[in-house]
Amino acid sequence: MLQPKSYPELVGKALVLEAEPFLTLVEDDNPWVEGLFLVTCVGVLLGGAHLVGGLLWTASLPPSDAVREALLPSVQQLAAQIDMGKDPLQIEAAFRQAWRWGAGLIGYQGGFARLFFALLEPVWLVLQWLFLSLATHGAARLLGGKGTLVQMLGTTALAVAPQVLGVLTIIPFVSVNGLLLGVWALLIAYRAVEITHDLSWQRASLAVLAAPVLLILMSFFIAASTSLVLTMGGGA
């Protein structure tokens, strides 16, 4: 069992794609527990950073109500120009409603939405880790991989390493590009597959692409099903 104080070193070495942290987890007596704990730790850290950063963001902007009142006349004017409505009171009510929803969702008005998303962060990361591990392991086994699922759960947990950059969002207006996080995570997952399953780079690349391809296919399927249900509902 690894000590949690060794996690920063593991994460740092995984970020630069060194083999050592992957080998450490492959040879660990309980890789999946290590993986789960590592992912949860990063999730809690990230959630805390998002919460504090979000509160600082709200505190550094003008009050939500004042911004809404400043925007209202322009919205009414714009709505009249593009024939969205002539009644200013109706437009004002709709705008206030939309503002309440939007500002509440991004946590501009208060901390409850931010607290909710902060608590959700570790759960979300654990789900991503499970999906990535299972999809990649399945593909790697199909391609002749020799590693076990337990080992794969351990090594794939290192793909959470780039998420550590999210701690910087504690400073208002710092944004970490999702593309950077996604591609970096896939590069780490590629090293995980290559080392755990002892595959060639071609096979490891194919295996690691299984997760995003599966995700895209699932999105298409859900979008198509939703659209079909809506069309049938509309027809009825």
């Binding site: 630069v16 208002p172 207006f173 590009n177 950077l180």
Partner: protein, 256 residues
């Protein structure tokens, strides 16, 4: 005995002196060789451009981006602290001001931005909101550069792999990190006239260093290197155009 000697006066061997940052950054001599395109030196020399790890490459990209972002950080901090607001609002208000200074009337949005920039922050003192958000804008520099280095680099390596290059991920990222150095010149952006010139020089120089480093690490000839470097941008542009056309067609169909 000079500083590079490891033999003590009594004949015993002294431990090698290494600075704490040497694991995170290449030496100045390595960087100088790389930006002068000297990639064909002996790979076994301890201070050749090849003796760089991905960790040092990562450090180089981050430090170069922080250096480039320093002057814009100072300009942003002074502007935002003086206005007592966040950097994005200060920039929008300043843009609106510049538009009206050109002789045109202040647009409706311009008026809104100026009004918002004039409002005090909800809780923090204005100067602190300005300083914090300037710091945030500065930190975004290395994050943006890391995105280019890793995401675009991965696409270039995939393109190069089509021709069977033996380059590994770590080696590729380590060598291509040198291309971040000329981009430090983009930090001169706030300087009138010189800023534009510096950006043109920076991008041209970076492209040449990037091409040379890709060619060296992938062992491809120049023609294939150019194709590998340009292909990801070409595919991304093509996909972007297709997406835009599809969106425009859908919107037009909805309207008419």
């Amino acid at each position: 005995m000079n500083s590079s000697s490891f033999l003590r006066a009594d004949g015993t061997l002294a431990p090698q002196r290494t600075a704490w940052w040497s694991a995170w950054l290449p030496t100045l001599s390595q960087v100088q060789q790389a930006i002068q395109l000297q990639f064909r030196t002996d790979a076994n020399m301890p201070h050749s451009v090849w003796a760089i790890t991905m960790r040092q490459g990562l450090g180089l990209v981050v430090v170069a981006a922080l250096l480039a972002g320093f002057l814009p950080f100072l300009v942003n901090a002074v502007t935002a602290v003086r206005l007592g607001t966040t950097v994005p609002l200060a920039q929008l208000a300043q843009q609106a001001q510049e538009q009206s200074a050109d002789g045109g009337p202040l647009s409706q949005m311009g008026e809104i931005w100026q009004r918002l920039a004039g409002m005090p922050p909800a809780l923090l003192p204005g100067w602190m909101a300005g300083l914090l958000t300037s710091l945030g804008a500065w930190i975004n520099w290395p994050l943006r550069w890391l995105t280019w280095w890793l995401v675009y680099g991965t696409a270039v390596l995939v393109a190069a792999k089509v021709w069977g290059t033996p380059a590994t991920l770590q080696r590729f990222f380590a060598l291509t990190s040198y291309a971040a150095v000329p981009m430090v010149l983009t930090g001169l952006e706030p300087v009138p006239y010189l800023g534009v010139l510096a950006q043109i020089v920076a991008v041209s120089w970076m492209s040449v260093v990037y091409g040379a480093s890709v060619s060296a690490v992938t062992q491809l000839n120049w023609r294939r290197t150019v194709v590998a470097v340009i292909l990801p941008a070409a595919i991304a542009s093509m996909l972007g155009i297709i997406f835009l056309l599809a969106t425009a067609t859908t919107v037009l169909r909805m309207i008419f």
